[in-house]
């Protein structure tokens, strides 16, 4: 027993500290040389030099120098990332060798990070897209995702809200889940479940997107939405290199320019009020003001024409500056390398009193203890602070033009202080923005520590301990004068989430003989997540003054003040094998099993297998003569992924409660609030993918194309259960949704001389279809004014469902001769009687489109000529529809500001009937228009997302300021943004009711998403 342990210890120590024994081999000679780049004749550091068929290998140093003990003759293979591998036969020892390596155009040998490892691009069997950080950090965005817009086929990144710092929605190959979320899993340096919000683009080395299930399946139960792997920079061997990026600029919002001025507004509102009055049978010849025979609600106050004419949209928006400074140092030697960086970013919002600031730091250290042992540490704290607008854009822009921005005494007038109760009761927009202090602060720290041991040639074990700690504080105060109800209010929310993970992997990689590449991975992962939040709410109106805005100045409201805690745990075991024969026939298979605390005792564990294969046809002998073709690979894959985002204790029947007063005593009550389902299990996505990778003309043209079919079944959503249980629905696993489509990425190097021109183009189309709803054929969610969102077997999920307008009821005769909706009047729409039964009722509703784009396009062109470089990115989206319900506010519904394009041509009266296509629109008639295609608009767009121009100063000049690199650049974001003429909103991707998040989702519903900003940037990149 004791001896055994001793031997074990000796074994471990010898394994850790064993040195290379090959040096003592007999009959060898020293071969030395230099490896240099064929392009700039500079030395190449770290080139792997390997005597084929032996274990003899080394790497070049900073001078590009290497030396090896060799038995001659032998063949040396020189391989280096980004360069064409070269082989050279050495027969005798002479002068030091001089080896020139050519840069590759498309990096077939570049490493692509996949889950728990990396593979050569040429060996990939799955659909993985990689974006390297080449200038992405020069695009001024508060969030890194935005810089990726239009760059990845099948990855739709849409900015539905445009407040500073708002997170865009990322959808990889469509949405398949109704209730459990469709966000991809973000893995940052191996930490699954991280967020983009604490990543600074300047620290990013590359971003890989695992699009198909065969590559994502290694992340099992969280990968159904795809996986985005972010790899951050680490130090490179050599002297310290300092790089500084400094840039700044300003943002300008793209606004509407068709607002009515106050005189036009007076005329329009008079027509509006007369029309309303006529509908209730009023006599419109009664003067609009001052005659008590006309009810107050139908009058128009002459106070409108008081000499004030405010365009509220323009009043609340401003040109907003921003600035960004980041600094990074990296370096290292044979045993240690480091990367440290810091960033400060300050971005003002184009809406007054909004901003977003981040302060981040990052340190990464890798230590090579000896030939066998590597240790590393990474720490990345990030602090973000922001001031948020309390209301949607609509509440600022819709305010009527006759209200002054501010009174001479500094107070803020309201619409009702001019006109009385007929107009909107809302507070003055400037008062809302000035008098509401709504702040969000986040401190997020990611850290990890790893140790890796090389057990034998090709065999490594690695253990990682990681943590992600997030602290959030949200403070909100609204002064009484900023509130529509004239009462102060306030709240404070503190929350923290701590996630710990331990991952252990064992990795084996070996080439047997010349033809058999074999790799295997095994691992275990344990993750535990704790969260706690505390909400404190003030009693409305209880603040003693506006000066002290913390809640100690108010009475605490027990209803709404609480602390919440939750936690979940995930245990996973996974494995993967890959085999390649002659690098022509490639196979990969993986399996993962996850156990999650979120699921019922009967369904705790899920299995997520995958398999993929590829055939590199170009490696076959019969293809050898086709010199045009550099590479041709066919891929096929299948995999299963899961979704566990259902809330921590959804399988349990739980008790909720509250308070009420009985006999003047405050009493707690509790009652069962959820039914529970011990059989609740995983939502599973099975995906098929067929792909082809083609390289032409010595890799100057590469094409990657994929077709996929993704089916998500066992959907987690609330199904009907018998009411006798006390509940009408219970979370269950039923239903199935399909996404299928294709993606093409085309990269070309059009010109490669002094004047270089590269183009990256991508196109993707996705079709979503509900296949099953667990026994029912359809489910309809209807909004208060009649628009419905449809889940129906055979249709895309959450399609708009409503009536089709065909015209306007112009004559009393039409009211009886044409099928109309019950209660219709002159000016109301004529609807399409779809089933032709002569009655307009809910059976005449039709599918009216969907919030999802039918196809997306992206194109990036990069040019360089000597010291100049220029690039621009174009993105287009086709076929998405938006339910632009905000339009009604700009049509006079609360007698607010109006837009010419929205009120033109509509029916006002028999004498002023418009063009016969635009029905009367007003608040009282909303249920006649909101339930139809009237507010559904085509949200297709084409945008020049970014133009970036740079100039690299010659070294002679940059040296004068002591730098090795000096580049000036200028860029414009959203330089051009084209939308359809029928689109009236600020942002075609903008909607306010969220995306798909449960059975009652209303994706595409917009009331007041913020305008898009055009951003002008000027900056400098410095290297030392």
């Amino acid at each position: 027993m004791r001896t055994n342990q001793f031997i074990l210890l000796i074994g471990i120590f010898s394994m850790l500290f064993a040195t290379n024994l090959h040096a003592w081999a007999q009959g060898t000679q020293v071969v030395e040389g230099y490896v240099i780049s064929a392009t700039d004749k500079g030395p190449l550091l770290g080139v792997s030099v390997h005597a084929t068929g032996t274990a003899v290998a080394t790497k070049t140093n900073e001078q590009g120098y290497f030396s090896l003990q060799l038995t001659l003759p032998s063949v040396l293979r020189f391989s280096y990332l980004g360069y064409t591998t070269k082989e050279l036969e050495v027969k005798e020892v002479g002068n030091p060798l001089r080896i020139l390596l050519e840069k590759t155009f498309a990096n077939l040998d570049e490493a692509v990070v996949v889950g728990y490892g990396a593979v050569k691009r040429s060996s990939l069997t799955a659909a993985v897209t990689k974006v390297e950080n080449k200038g992405l950090d020069e695009i001024p965005t508060a969030r890194p995702e935005v810089a990726l817009q239009g760059k990845l086929a099948g990855v739709n990144i849409s900015q539905t809200r445009n407040a500073p710092g708002s997170a865009p929605i990322i959808r990889i190959r469509g949405a398949g889940s109704i209730s459990a979320g469709n966000d991809p899993l973000i893995v940052v340096d191996g930490f699954p479940g991280a967020s983009f919000s604490n990543i600074n683009m300047n620290d990013v080395a590359s971003i890989e997107v695992l699009k198909d299930a065969s590559s994502a399946a290694i992340y099992g139960s969280r990968a159904a939405g795809g996986v985005v792997i972010v790899t951050t920079k680490s130090g490179k061997q050599g002297k310290p290199v300092l790089s500084v990026n400094a840039f700044g600029g300003f943002s300008k919002a793209k606004l509407h320019n068709d607002w009515l001025n106050v005189n036009e507004y007076y005329d329009a509102i008079t027509k509006y009020q007369n029309r309303e009055y006529a509908w209730i049978g009023g006599d419109t010849s009664i003067p609009v003001w001052g005659d008590s025979n006309r009810p107050a609600g139908y009058q128009v106050s002459p106070a409108v024409l008081n000499g004030t004419d405010v365009n509220w949209q323009d009043a609340v928006m401003e040109t907003a500056p921003f600035q960004n400074y980041d600094l990074a140092v990296n370096g290292g030697n044979d045993n240690i390398n480091y990367y440290i960086s810091g960033i400060v970013r300050d971005q003002q919002g184009t809406l007054r009193n909004t901003w977003y600031r981040t302060y981040g730091a990052r340190a990464s250290l890798n230590i090579k203890v000896n030939e066998r042992v590597d240790l590393g540490l990474m720490l990345n704290p990030n602090y973000a602070t922001s001031r948020i607008a309390p209301n949607n854009m609509i509440d600022y822009a819709k305010y009527p033009p006759f209200v002054a921005i501010q009174n001479p005494d500094g107070t803020y007038p309201t619409a009702r202080s001019y006109w009385g109760a007929a107009v909107t009761s809302q507070a003055n927009p400037m008062a809302i923005l000035e008098g509401t202090n709504y702040r969000a602060n986040t401190l997020n720290t990611i850290g990890n520590f790893y140790a890796s041991v090389k057990l034998a040639e090709g065999l490594h074990i690695k253990s990682t301990i990681g943590t992600n700690m997030s602290y959030n504080i949200t403070d909100r105060f609204q002064a009484s004068w900023a509130s529509s109800s004239s009462t102060s209010s306030g709240s404070a929310i503190d929350s923290r989430t701590i996630s710990l993970i331990n991952e252990n992997t064992i990795n084996y990689q070996k080439t047997f003989g010349a033809d058999h590449d074999f790799g295997a991975l095994g691992g275990a992962s344990y993750q535990h997540n704790f969260s706690r939040s505390m909400t404190t709410l003030a009693v409305n109106g209880s603040f003693n003054n506006d000066i002290i805005q913390t809640l100690n100045n108010a009475t605490i409201n027990p209803v709404g003040t609480n602390t919440l805690k939750s936690e979940w745990g995930l245990v996973s075991y996974f494995g993967r094998v890959n085999y390649g024969f002659k690098n022509k026939y490639l196979f990969t298979a993986s399996i993962r099993t996850d156990g999650s605390s979120r699921f019922g005792p009967d369904r705790k564990w899920g299995w997520f297998p995958s398999a993929s294969a590829a055939w590199r046809i170009s490696g076959e002998r019969f293809m050898e003569n086709l010199t045009v073709l550099s590479d041709l690979k066919l891929r096929a894959s299948f995999g299963t992924t899961g979704n566990m985002n259902i809330g921590d204790f959804a399988y349990l029947g739980t008790i909720g409660g509250g308070i009420y007063t009985v006999n003047d005593q405050i009493t707690n009550w509790q009652a069962q609030s959820t039914y529970g389902n011990s059989r609740l299990g995983w939502e599973k996505t099975r995906e098929l993918d067929f792909g082809v990778d083609i390289s032409l003309f010595n890799n100057r043209v590469t094409i990657n194309a994929d077709y996929y079919r993704k089916r998500t079944d066992g959907l987690l959503y609330a199904v009907s259960i018998p009411g006798i249980t006390g509940f009408t629905s219970s979370l269950s696993n039923v239903g199935e949704v399909e996404n299928k489509g294709f993606e093409i990425e085309l990269n070309t190097k059009n010109l490669v001389g002094d004047f270089k021109w590269q183009t990256s183009f991508n196109v993707a189309a996705n079709r979503n279809k509900v296949l099953s709803l667990g026994g029912v054929n359809e489910r309809i969610t209807t909004d208060g004014y009649g628009m419905s969102w449809l889940l129906r077997v055979g249709e895309p999920m959450f399609s708009y469902y409503g009536y089709k307008q065909t015209g306007v009821i112009q004559t009393a005769e039409q009211l009886t001769s044409v099928p109309v909706m019950a209660g219709s009047k002159l000016g109301n729409p004529i609807y399409d009687d779809l089933n032709g039964d002569g009655i307009i009722n809910q059976n005449d509703r039709a599918v009216l489109g969907n919030f999802m784009p039918k196809a997306t396009f992206g194109m990036t062109n990069s040019f360089s000529y000597r010291s100049f470089d220029l690039s621009f990115t174009i993105q287009a989206s086709v076929g998405a529809k938006i339910y632009n319900f905000e339009n009604q506010f700009y049509q006079g519904s609360v007698l607010g500001a109006m837009r010419q394009s929205l009120i033109a041509d509509q029916w006002w009266s028999v004498d002023d009937p418009g063009d016969g296509l635009h029905p009367a629109v007003s608040l009282s008639q909303l249920s006649f228009n909101a339930n139809s295609d009237y507010y559904i608009e085509d949200a297709s767009f084409l945008a020049v997302r970014n133009i970036n121009v740079g100039y690299n100063f010659p070294v002679a000049i940059s040296r004068k300021i002591g730098s090795s690199k000096l580049r000036l650049f200028a860029s414009i974001n959203n330089a051009l943004f084209l939308t359809k003429k029928e689109f009236h909103g600020y942002n075609p991707e903008g909607y306010t009711a969220g995306e798909v998040a449960g059975i009652n989702s209303k994706p595409g519903y917009n009331i007041g998403s913020e305008p898009i900003n055009r951003v002008y940037t000027f900056g400098v990149n410095l290297g030392f």
């Binding site: 074994g11 705790k604 008790i655 509250g658 009420y660 009493t667 009652a671 259960i721 006390g726």
Partner: protein, 478 residues
């Protein structure tokens, strides 16, 4: 370096970590309690009973629709032509299986039954407090079944063997056996209600323990007995109805108000009663928890929606000297004369009107009717006059006999209990045809003659329930 040792070392690593995996997967919620461990103390039970009372006040059931339907579907109330678009189909007798109201009758009442089942099924030791609380849960479960059986099934007096509603008496889980039951018969449901009320009466101590002070907001021992007298009356079991009602009268300690002034003040107040005057049980609608614009008071009161108006016929049954006539307000609606219900006048206050569930006068009239049906006309007249003369001090005692006496008792019930949701049950248990007055242009629409053959005297089983439970059968006509 030996390969075996290496493997041993790796296994060691993996096993150490694997041993903690079990605890990773067994989390307990920190802020909500799993159902199994919910009632583990008297305080838990007290809060659960409070949750049961709160659930009853939902406006889809006892908070509005149950008491409102009892008059709207009967002959007391109609929907004004000027209305807030609520309950149009109920006024017109055109509701269907897809209608929200029967669906929510069903699901919300069973939700309350679930809460009662959890309390009844808890295994706390029986102390005086636990006995009181469990007794209340038994009584409230019976109350829920009484409304379910009378809205969703034929009256007992018509067919006791007709399909009733499923009896669910234990807390269920989705995998359990009770999820898809068949409908029990009407008689089985009545038996269960009677036994639940017996359990309630036996469990509850003679003196209400301090955990629930004697308040009209809580079910007390004799409130359970009073409710049982109603169950027996609906079952036409007049001997037991008489005994239960007499027990309340003799032992309950309840009384009527003394004067018309006190009677008016009683209806104007939003406070619960601790003096056992008039109210035996009512639902709390305090400032912290009420139904807002969906409350029973709001749909009746002229200052609220004022949608539901009193028919002229109903107004006419009250003498001018009857203090109950003051509970109907003569006003105008959209330019036309209209009678508003004024039993729940506090819609503009923060503390809103209680919903009356059982009042002493009902028990007296049940006692009177039971005596009358059993042939003891002297006692029948005694208790009839006790109510009638209290409400109208100017009238002479009634001297009716035979059918005239029975009709007078039923009419007195209508006068006394109007707008409290019980009229419809009197009409159905006695299997009477009835006429809902056509109020012409004042009404949204009308549906006058409700014959005893009309299938809409019973609500439809919700379509969702039929879809989700293949063992469920629909009521005839739907």
């Amino acid at each position: 370096m030996n390969g075996k040792h290496l493997i041993g070392y790796l296994l060691l690593c993996t096993l150490t970590l694997a041993s903690c995996s079990k605890s990773f997967l067994q989390e307990d919620p920190s802020t909500s309690v799993a159902v199994e461990s919910a009632i583990s103390s008297e305080t838990d039970m007290l809060e659960s009973v409070a949750g049961l009372y709160r659930s009853l006040d939902n406006y889809f059931i006892f908070g509005r629709n149950y008491p409102l339907f009892g008059d709207l579907l009967a002959d007391n109330v109609y929907l004004s032509s000027t209305n807030s678009s609520r309950l149009l189909m109920q006024n017109n007798y055109t509701w269907t299986i897809a209608n929200t109201e029967p669906r929510t009758f069903w699901s919300n009442t069973y939700y309350s039954i679930l809460q009662a089942n959890r309390i009844i099924g808890s295994n706390l030791d029986i102390t005086e407090n636990v006995a009181q609380l469990k007794g209340e849960a038994y009584a409230l479960r019976a109350l829920c079944y009484l409304y379910l059986i009378n809205w969703f099934a034929k009256p007992y007096t018509v067919d006791p063997n007709a399909a009733g509603v499923p009896l669910v008496t234990v807390s269920t889980s989705i995998t359990g056996p009770l999820v898809k039951p068949e409908r029990n018969t009407v008689a089985e449901v009545y038996d269960k209600m009677i036994s639940d009320l017996d359990s309630a009466f036996l469990l509850m101590p003679e003196t209400t323990p301090a955990i629930h002070i004697a308040s009209s907001n809580f079910i007390a021992k004799y409130a359970a007995k009073a409710l049982q007298s109603r169950v027996f009356l609906y079952k036409a079991d007049y001997e037991n109805a008489r005994d239960a009602a007499l027990s309340v009268v003799q032992n309950g300690g309840y009384s009527l108000t003394d004067s018309p002034g006190d009677f008016a003040a009683y209806w104007a107040s939003t406070a619960s009663r601790t003096d056992k005057v008039e109210t035996i049980f009512e639902l709390n609608n305090s400032a912290t928890a009420n139904n807002g614009i969906e409350g029973l008071d709001f749909i009746y009161a002229a200052q609220g929606h004022g949608d539901m108006l009193v028919t002229d016929d109903t107004y006419a049954i009250y003498q001018e000297t009857d203090s109950r006539r003051a509970l109907i307000q003569d006003g105008t609606r959209n330019g036309m004369q209209a009678y508003f219900v004024n039993k729940y006048p506090n819609v503009t206050a923060t503390d809103r009107d209680e919903v009356k569930m059982i009042r002493y006068a009902e028990v007296l009239l049940t006692l009177s009717e039971a005596y009358g049906r059993l042939g003891d006309e002297a006692n029948a007249r005694l208790y009839l006059n006790m109510v009638a003369q209290n409400r109208d001090h100017s009238i002479a005692p009634y001297t009716y006999s035979g059918n005239e006496l029975l009709d007078a008792i039923v009419l007195e019930r209508r006068k006394e209990l109007a707008f409290e949701g019980l009229r419809f049950f009197d009409l159905t248990r006695l299997n009477l045809d009835f006429t809902r007055q056509n109020m012409g242009t004042k009404a949204y629409s009308y549906y006058t003659d409700v014959l005893r053959t009309d299938f809409r005297r019973i609500q439809p089983i919700p379509q969702e329930e039929i879809n989700a439970n293949p063992n469920m059968t629909q009521n005839a006509g739907y």
